[in-house]
């Protein structure tokens, strides 16, 4: 019997596909998320919208909170560590939860190195804006990816940009011959072996969700139609008027993403969506997606 193999790490992400992973800050919210049909919850002290509003350094959540949330649900629980902060990751791993998000939503702890995720038994999900970034994270051991979007904005535009970028770059690789793939690897700043694999598969070798700015059932279905495997919803649920209903509606829209009649039905009378922010109104240094490389 072998535990924590690559197959089990990447395999859990396979089981999450077609699902919605929701940010929660209390055990009560976690139960609402599970009841609404979330496939997993992300245990946090503050949702990205509050991190953005309050400023300061954002760190790993209190382990006590993470454990309390873990005990309140039967679905997988994820928690965030700062980029490069491998001790936060060690702490989260010791709590016996299911996945670590090495996340740009928190303030990076290392401006040069991401966590060497091969050193861990617990699987990691990491953010990406483009194919090169995605493949660098996989090379470091990430078993799942998510496009970054711009967290805490309720604005899907960056999530769309990043998903389209990754998919467009994959399609370009598929049209290259063997000679061109070497130079593509150089330009992407990604390992050649992974570049060759992506060209052959026509997709990333791990599951890729969308994140950052998804606030409505239509946003979730949009990302699914753009070809992601599932969605993270952060501030979009518990910063809205009726979280339980919105959560369930987003779950249903993610399953039936190709069925406009169902998406219309579940979108009716959901109440206030979270207040959105235009990306252009955010000072450049406060953009989260640019953290990590």
């Amino acid at each position: 019997m072998e535990k924590s193999t690559w197959t089990t790490k990447a395999g859990l992400a396979q089981m999450l596909k077609g699902g919605v992973i929701m940010d929660v800050v209390t055990a009560e919210q976690a139960k609402i998320a599970e009841e609404a049909g979330a496939v997993a919850v992300m245990a946090l002290e503050r949702v990205p919208a509050d991190i953005r509003a309050q400023g300061g350094v954002a760190r790993m959540s209190d382990p006590e909170l993470i454990v309390r949330i873990k005990e309140s649900v039967t679905i997988p629980v994820m928690a965030k560590a700062r980029i490069g902060h491998f001790v936060e990751a060690q702490i989260i791993e010791s709590l016996g939860i299911d996945y670590i998000d090495e996340s740009e939503v928190l303030t990076p702890a290392d401006e040069e190195h991401h966590i060497n995720k091969h050193n861990f038994k617990i699987p990691f999900v990491c953010g990406c804006r483009n194919l090169g970034e995605a493949l660098r994270r996989i090379a470091e051991g990430a078993a799942m990816l998510r496009t970054k979007g711009e967290a805490g904005t309720g604005n899907v535009v960056e999530a769309v940009r990043h998903a389209r970028t990754v998919n467009g770059e994959i399609r370009r690789l598929q049209n290259m011959n063997a000679d061109e793939l070497f130079s593509a690897a150089k330009n992407l700043q990604a390992p050649y072996e992974l570049v060759r694999q992506v060209a052959e598969l026509g997709r990333l070798p791990v599951v890729n969700f969308a994140a950052g700015g998804i606030a409505t059932p239509a946003d979730a279905a949009l990302m699914m139609q753009l070809g992601v495997d599932g969605v993270f919803v952060g501030s979009g649920i518990f910063k809205s008027g009726d979280p339980a209903r919105r959560a369930r509606a987003i779950v249903e829209a993610t399953t039936h993403y190709n069925d406009p009649e169902i998406i219309a039905e579940v979108s009716k009378g959901l109440g206030e969506a979270m207040v959105g922010i235009n990306i252009g109104d955010i000072p450049h240094e406060q953009l989260m997606a640019g953290r990590g490389w």
Binding site: G11, Q14, M15, E35, T74, I97
Partner: protein, 189 residues
């Protein structure tokens, strides 16, 4: 033969890929009307609470039970095995289930993701060579009723595959491996 794969959530694509490879037609099932097009159904791995909820919302539970009563073969992997079981422990009280096999599924029986594992498994029904089984936050099956045939156990005796007439439950994921034998076995049920 058209095999339906319940596509509400989970690794339904991996099942579809495996089925294509062994020459079956595949139809994704999300709504009751899709059920009419299939001769068999697979419920994939995923989150049993999520899939159960969507089964209930989209009124699939009764139509699936009816088709099974008429003889449609049905196979559940992991979350699917939980949904096939009549009883669930360590789940949510109100968790919807199909409740078709006389079994108790113990959810997350091995612990968290850190206890997910791979192991070689002897399954006589598919041949002598062991199946390299992948267990991800897997359940185990307990209290099999008299009509249930145990197909595989772990070294410690835990039941991880079972059959009741044309119903099949596996706690592991053949769809994540290259071993086609469990899928072929299901197509012959």
């Amino acid at each position: 033969m058209t095999v339906g794969v319940l596509a509400l959530q989970g690794d339904f694509r991996e099942h579809a890929v495996m089925l294509h490879r062994i020459g079956a037609e595949v139809c994704e099932v999300r709504l009751p009307r899709h059920l009419a097009q299939v001769e068999r159904l697979i419920i994939p791995g995923g989150e049993s609470t999520t899939i159960g909820k969507l089964l209930a919302i989209y009124r699939l539970i009764e139509p699936i039970r009816e088709r099974v009563a008429q003889g449609m073969p049905l196979w559940g992997t992991c979350a699917g095995a939980i949904l096939l079981s009549r009883r669930i422990t360590d789940g949510r009280d109100e968790q919807p289930t199909l409740g078709l096999m006389d079994l108790t599924a113990r959810r997350n029986a091995f612990g968290s993701q850190l206890d997910s594992f791979e192991a070689d498994l002897m399954i006589d029904a598919i041949g002598e060579a062991p199946h390299h089984a992948v267990f991800i936050r897997a359940p185990i099956l307990e209290q099999p009723g008299p009509k249930v045939q145990v197909l595989a156990r772990l070294a410690d005796g835990a039941i991880v595959a079972a059959q009741q007439a044309h119903l099949l439950a596996t706690c592991f994921h053949p769809e994540l491996t290259r071993d086609e034998r469990v899928h072929r076995y299901f197509l012959e049920l």
